[in-house]
Symmetry: C2
């Protein structure tokens, strides 16, 4: 975070992550390791995405009257019905979305993509859509991995995707209060560049950082890799404007208030069901001039997570705080190549057996401050028998922190099933929940006549509990979506039955919708439906997402 800001990466191609020519190569060590897990040479399969003209699109067309009305609001060039625009907005970036896109299936594409210039145009577009019976799908960076941007039309005559990229820029900055208001369509790296000009940072770095937007972070209650220090995105947001079919809602805006229920917290996580978030006001912090990287090894996941718990409960948390289980550690260290082997040797030497890797990063104004914070954290780490590893291990993690989605494209090309899921629970339930979900996934693959590797890490740490993030890797086979669907269902059931939340930071979308009633009750769903009904009586906003 202390380094110079890299350029803002291009928007993602329709079939994958980032630019078409981005580096997606796996290391030799990675290929060898993966080949052993799969029991075949990785490059035995080579399935590139189909060409754009081969993608199958639904043949629904926007009614001419609706098209004219939308054009009147945003202009001809901002109502797009060409194949490229529709395919680009057919879905998000889940494994399912990418398998379908690469295979040429875009049957969840919108009838049109509309690009409003500002909140006023958004309001007018919503009125047109309500009049013409069109469902509206808000679209920020399109990085949803839970079906949040599929262009479902529900009971409506058609469906329009609202791409918010033109709602850009820094709208307002208060350097004294350290708050900044951004257009909802601003992407992570753009926000950081705009703040860096004032020597400030947002500190929100989810894996989707390069592509996702501030409006999307708000709509999905995103949480970034530095959440231990900078908070979840919902902790950073002070206010938001939501344009609903019934008018504009401005929520939040005070550092603390007792003026009734927090409507801001009804908007955060609303996933487009209440309206379109058009701007967000966030807390900013000084851009760190120093970052300290530490890597530690623990003898078990129990010990590693106990150390994280002690850090959280003694209020000595680093800004980034991540503990991998033995499986993920094994892969991480091997993928790191030669220097990884050296580290493994080092760790073995210290009799830790199958170690668990912990990565810790501290940000601050100078090295003295970050060193002091790191020193304050030391007792928690040594109390659980942590052994210090070279800082290079943590720096290697940081250098590749946004890299996984690129590698995934390459794995998909090589016939590998790779997907992630996540949950959170109280500390006392963390290790049992992790075991239950891992077992559910492994059993599902075995029932499918195959096997998988499940890696687990904790990367969001709170005083009362933590997140669990699982990465599943296996052979795609003939029916990859069926195979993953069965594993995902087993995992979701295990999460719900063992006291986890159905999602810690990926949101609900379509994929978790069936499990939300387990979490908030049927009465909770009724509350959400009533709230949506108050601002969207015709239910045009993002049908099929969050709740049905």
């Amino acid at each position: 975070m202390t380094s110079e800001l890299p350029p803002v990466p291009p928007r993602s191609v329709w079939w994958g992550w980032g630019a078409a020519d981005a580096d997606r190569s796996l290391s030799g060590a990675g290929l060898a390791l993966l080949g052993r897990e799969l029991g075949r040479p990785v490059d035995a399969v080579d399935e590139p995405p189909v060409d754009l003209p081969a993608v199958r699109l639904p043949d629904r067309l926007l009614a001419p009257s609706a098209r004219a009305a939308l054009t009147a609001v945003v202009g001809e060039e901002h109502v797009r019905t060409d194949a490229e625009a529709r395919v680009e907005h057919a879905g998000g970036k889940s494994y399912r979305d990418l398998v379908r896109a690469r295979g040429g299936d875009a049957d969840e594409a919108p009838d049109a993509v509309v690009l409003p210039a500002d909140a006023d145009q958004v309001a007018q577009v919503l009125r047109v859509c309500a009049e013409h019976d069109l469902a509206v799908v808000p679209f920020g960076g399109g990085t949803s991995v839970v079906g949040g941007v599929q262009a479902l039309r529900g009971d409506h005559a058609g469906v329009v995707t609202l791409d918010l990229r033109r709602l850009d820029g820094l709208v307002d900055l208060d350097p004294v209060s350290r708050t900044a208001t951004f257009g909802a369509g601003v992407r992570g790296p753009e926000a950081e560049r705009l703040l860096a000009a004032h020597d400030l940072t947002l500190g929100h770095f989810p894996q989707s950082f390069e592509q996702a937007t501030l409006g999307g972070f708000a709509a999905t209650r995103s949480s970034g890799q530095a959440s231990s220090g900078y908070g979840r995105f919902d902790d950073m947001v002070l206010a938001a404007t939501v344009v609903t079919p019934e008018g504009e809602l401005r929520v939040g805006g005070f550092p603390g208030t007792a003026a009734g229920p927090a409507l801001l917290d009804l908007v955060l996580g609303s996933e487009g069901r209440l309206g379109v978030i058009t701007d967000v006001t966030v807390r900013a912090r000084p851009r760190p001039a120093a970052t300290r990287h530490e890597a530690w090894a623990f003898a078990s996941f129990e010990e590693a997570t106990a150390a994280l718990r002690q850090l959280a409960q003694s209020r000595t948390l680093p800004d980034v705080c991540r503990a991998s289980d033995a499986e993920e550690t094994r892969v991480t260290l091997r993928m790191a190549g030669r220097s990884g082997a050296a580290l493994r040797g080092l760790t073995r030497l210290r009799r830790l057996g199958d170690p668990c890797l912990v990565i810790l990063l501290w940000d601050g104004p100078d090295s003295k401050t970050v060193d002091a914070r790191a020193a304050a954290a030391r007792p928690a780490l040594t109390a659980h028998h942590g052994r210090r590893l070279p800082g290079a291990v943590a720096r290697a993690w940081a250098a590749h922190r946004f890299g996984a989605p690129y590698l995934r494209d390459e794995l998909l090309r090589r016939g590998v099933l790779v997907e992630t899921l996540e949950t959170a629970t109280g500390w006392s339930n963390l290790v049992p929940l992790a075991a239950a979900v891992r077992t559910a996934i492994s059993d599902a693959f075995v029932a499918d006549g195959t096997r998988c590797v499940v890696q687990t890490h904790v990367s969001h740490v709170y005083e009362t509990g933590a997140s669990l993030y699982l990465t599943v890797i296996g052979e795609a086979g003939d029916d990859p979506l069926g195979r993953w669907g069965r594993a995902k269902e087993a995992a979701s059931r295990a999460i719900v039955e063992h006291g986890g939340t159905i999602t810690h930071h990926h949101a609900v979308g379509v994929d978790h919708r069936a499990y939300l009633p387990d979490e908030v009750g049927e009465l909770g769903i009724r509350l959400l439906r009533a709230a949506a009904g108050a601002v969207d009586p015709q239910a045009v906003m993002n049908p099929g997402k969050l709740f049905s």
Copy 2:
């Protein structure tokens, strides 16, 4: 906070705060100072409260069928219609409430007071009330200063107050996750005693601490004196159960989640409009073994608040953090008597003129830890030319931190008008907002042909802004409620017009209801109404509070 826990104080008398025989005496120095401000000897007036039999109660009676149905649920002895029970539940503890109670006016008393034993009885009582067209007013400690517990019946045939004192005790404790579930009727000191048995603390110490309940803290988004370190009550609550007329709602329960809008945040601050909060799960922290007290003097309110801002924005905040303006400082130091005079001299000597007092408290496991935290805070204090005062000044504040409501009873007896109000805003707007509200209040008193003293302090500090708390003291005169009503209206308008929230921690109730639309918009009110309608279709829950 390190001292032994004092005994749990008796519940408040109907005409004032705490026990009838509690110490309410003003110091000699306080009497003299106040006399000078009022321009008359304080004890020239002596108006004790009327006797209980003289209190005027509405002659509404509970219908015999309703009474029988309620009795069937909770038992004869828990349906109270005697004068004492009704008078005790006629209102909260605002200046208005106390003036009315002392004068024998209880026309906002309920028809009956019902004391359910548990959540199941609450659910049954709500069904009975819906069937018999009775409004329901949830009642915790009865400490509302905004009309939150007045027994308004709205359009209903009658009104019942639900006293939740029997929903007591520690229901569940998870020492690993450090979470505790309490019955909603548990009062602050009871919660601290229950947690202290496990060497834990909640750390929530509002001025109402001795009387208010955990359910009340949740229903009103309370914030305590140690909010800088322990957070607002809404930061501490992880989950709550709300019994609504349509069934039970269990909200929250995970350390972090992206599973849709945060329904817990719709319940927090709902002030009884959604249902009755029957239990809350809170985060607990280790009971501090050491507390460090520091007092600092600054040359101006601008400098004092700038120091607090730097503490907040450099993440070196103490657990208690409070800055008084020159007016409040003058009173505080004089009230402290001889030692105050010594301090004043000391401060003058250092050429600070009319100083502003800052009180800082740090909690921790040992003196080394709190000393280190205090050392980390020093640069922010010295950067704004703070001068260290003897720690005794801070310890004197801490010793009397819950004392003001007792003194207020004595002031009312002496014909003094005394009331407080509060707001919050961003740092860049803090000093201007304080000036605008002070001026509005002073002008209102002048328009009334009299004058007042307005003291201001900041006591809740955030990275992006802070609270403002104003204490107003004047001559009650012949029409004290009219006089205060005019000043309060002027203050509320100034707050809304100058970018403050209408309440930082006193909640909305009846008194701030008219200003909530300024803050959340008419559409926001429509959202709240829709949410309430989903769980309380007959609108029996606490009518007239929060929104109309």
